[in-house]
Amino acid sequence: MQLPDKIMNMVKSCAFCYLMCRHYCTISIVQRMNQSTPTGRAMLLYRLLNKEIQLNEDIAYVFYNCTNCGRCYIACETKISNPPEWIEETRYMLASRNMITEKVRALRENILRHGNTYGLSGDKLLDKISDMEEIFEGWSDTLYYVGGDIRSRHAEIAEKTIELFRKLSINVKVLRDEPPDGGILYIFGFRNEARKLATRLIEKIKSSGVNRIIVSDPLAYASFKVYYPKMGINLGGLEVVHVLELLSEKPMKFDRLAVKVTYHDPCFLGRRSTGVYEPPRMLLKKIPGLELREAAFNRDNAFCCGGLLQPIDEYWAKKVAEMLAERLGSKDVDLIVTACPRCHDSLRNIGVKTLDIVEILNEQYLPGV
């Protein structure tokens, strides 16, 4: 077992660090055990590579028991090591040896077989939007890439996004058969499959004749922005924007809505991709009567919802979500607004009222004002 030199240097840096990011690591804060800190994981990996301990499924779990939220990297004052990078590299090594946990195997199957992390079959978009055929078949220079998790479980996000696009005369098309973007597979170490899916998707997008992709799902956005370059996938001049980036540039007026909300920054729209922090805030502030409260830890420092842990370890994913709800002060506001299907899942599972930002924007939008 071996890791590339660059990655090995990161592992060593973390293994012999004085636990300087324990206070920031999502899993470490809730699990509170040594092996769930970046330092603890790195030290185990160092010993594993030195053949002092034998690889087994219990040890493999340690490397899947990470939300990839990247808070550790924010805490690291010298930025010498980026733990999500070496965690992903380790998972690649584990996957190559087929040393993966049962849940990880199931996640992979769900994505490959059903195109989403939930293992749900069927495209809920078709139930939601009556003239979907037109959107599938019509021509546009812009593609709206919805993403499997939204299409299968959170179709209302896509429905409201398309409704709002129409009100704003933004003409988009959607792929009828939308291959998964492959980002999650890459994150979990299945690089070959990820690359295959990504290649298929990009070929399909290119052949549809568009030159711009609008993305809803933060993980899909991170795939295009962060993981495709890592996979060596060439976007060939395709512009990729997040829905909120696009909307924030449109002149829009909104109806009054007297609510207190806190916006939760999804990891993969923030520190794990390009830091889309301003657009959602700009948009929410345009709604008269809406009181936007900032969480003490937001933007780069925002807590993680545990969404990527959900398919791997439900118990700890729930604990992470409970911590997030507390840190967001969810009891002091009417609702939490966010922009990620997995953040909705995590918070709704523990009874926190959440809405997708696009749902609010679409509802309050005043056409022609």
Binding site: C14, C17, Y18, M20, R22, L44, R47, Q54, I80
Partner: protein, 477 residues
């Protein structure tokens, strides 16, 4: 040797799935962040492993664990953040590591201006929670991102603002401790840590490093978060000039932070903890005053006058502010000494009264350079954590190119430490200020306390821990 399976089953009955004996979990609890632990890991040298790791959630569970351990004569190693540096949590004889971090409740009593925190609360979490209410403990150790309440008390932690707010032992007002035999002691919460009710039981356990029981909860005094911080810095031609200034100012004002750096730390050492402004020669003094209204400015004015009268040159506020803002940076790789393993490094953080402290520092430094010069030993030191009668010198040593043979390397480091510790003890100093004793300094406890002192400690240990199960081999016990 105890029956591992039986003890494991007994603990499972108590704690359910919060008992681990998987190899990788045991490997995750091999010690602390001290050189000795990290060097073993770095070199792949076999080190003792715990047999079982447990994760209790309350004092009753801790009590149950200790009763089982007593019944089967199993060593018990209480474990907090694992951020110690003297090997205090190395499971020398295997046994049960008790990770306390699941005990993490915090109760703030604003009326009493106290906070009660369970042993597994991490220092940063506690301070964050207090800050949300405009409160503070005033405790800012370098390890605050990982050290726990229990660990800080067990090893007598000190924060950078201890000159004003005191060490952890000055802040604690009451304790809950599970005794080695399983009884739970809850001391009354006193308005100050003493009180005219006989010898103080709290301070029997503070600093006991897990050898006399397991601290499960503690109550601390609080302060309002200071409204402002005033920064100030001075250079001195000689360390003595700076030292004299500090001694004089401490009887007149109370700075939160007083750090006096020696010339090596200012200029020479590759591994200095702080990068001072360019062009400074001699010694550097950083001061921080915090508080309310005009007080911090007034105190700074008095301190500045004293420094100027004693040969100091005022450097403005920037160096001290920069240090405050960046003070954790040097603990991150690649700046941390541990990033340079297998280099030997260590800290001689010793304390003494004003009349002895600087002499002890001079003697240690001269002796180390003359005795270990052929190993190209380097040192860098600063004086901080002052009281009204003395302070601490924090002398780091480095051997950049240690011998290849691990045994020789470990021995060399032991010898360097022993040289410094002997000088300290012989000159009337205290051989450790705030890192504790652990394994590395255990063998010098008799030198510190004399035979009669160590005999008293052993007798106390025997009464409380008749089967000698608590953290055996630490604290010289």
């Amino acid at each position: 040797m105890f029956d591992r399976d039986l003890v494991y089953e007994k603990l499972r009955d108590l704690l359910g799935d919060r008992v681990s004996r998987e190899e990788h979990i045991r490997h995750s609890y091999v010690g602390d962040t001290g050189w000795l632990t990290l060097y073993h890991v770095f070199k792949g040298i076999k080190a003792p492993l715990p047999d079982i790791v447990v994760f209790p959630k309350n004092a009753e569970e801790v009590s149950g664990i200790l009763k089982v351990a007593n019944e089967f004569r199993v060593p018990v190693i209480p474990y907090g953040g694992g951020s110690g540096v003297w090997g205090g949590t190395i499971p020398l004889y295997g046994g049960i590591v008790v990770d306390m971090k699941l005990m993490n409740n915090i109760e703030i009593n604003e009326e009493a201006m106290t906070v009660t925190a369970e042993a597994g609360v991490i220092s940063y979490e506690l301070e964050l929670r207090l800050n949300e209410k405009g409160l503070s403990m005033g405790h800012y150790p370098a390890s605050m991102f990982s050290a726990t309440v229990g660990g800080m008390l067990a090893a007598r932690s000190s924060g950078v603002a201890s000159t004003k707010y005191g060490k952890i032992e000055d802040m604690v007002l009451g304790l809950e401790v599970v005794l080695p035999t399983g009884e739970i002691l809850r001391t009354p919460i006193k308005p100050r840590y003493t009180g005219a009710v006989g010898p103080d039981l709290v301070h029997l356990f503070v600093g006991s490093e897990g050898t006399l029981g397991i601290i499960t909860k503690a109550t601390f005094q609080l302060h309002p978060l200071p409204e402002k911080r005033i920064f100030s810095a001075f250079s001195f031609r000689t360390l003595e000039d700076g030292y004299r200034s500090v001694v004089k100012m401490l009887s007149r004002v109370t700075p939160a932070v007083v750090r006096l750096y020696d010339e090596e730390e200012v200029m020479k050492s590759k591994f200095k903890t702080y990068t001072p402004p360019e062009g400074i020669r001699g010694a550097l003094l950083l001061l921080i005053f915090d508080g309310f209204g005009e007080m911090p400015e007034l105190e700074e004015k008095i301190a500045r006058q004293i420094c100027l009268e004693n040969g100091g040159s005022y450097l403005g506020d920037d160096p001290a502010r920069k240090w405050w803002n960046e003070r954790f940076r040097h603990y991150y790789p690649p700046l941390s000494p541990s990033s340079n393993l297998p280099m030997i490094y260590g800290t001689i953080d010793v304390a003494a009264t004003f009349d002895k402290l600087i002499r002890i520092y001079r003697e240690i430094k001269e002796t180390l350079y003359s005795k270990y010069g052929n190993y190209q030993l380097q040192t860098a030191a600063h004086f901080s954590h002052w009281s009204k009668s003395g302070g601490m010198v924090y002398l780091r040593f480095y051997v950049l190119d240690p011998p290849d043979d691990p045994e020789e390397t470990i021995k060399l480091r032991e010898n360097i430490i022993e040289t410094a510790i002997r000088i300290t003890a012989q000159m009337g100093g205290i051989i450790n200020d705030h890192h504790g004793v652990g394994l590395d300094l255990g063998r010098h406890m008799e030198l510190q306390h004399r035979p009669i002192g160590i005999d008293i400690l052993r007798k106390i240990k025997k009464v409380l821990d008749p089967n000698w199960i608590m953290n055996p081999g630490k604290l010289g016990l």
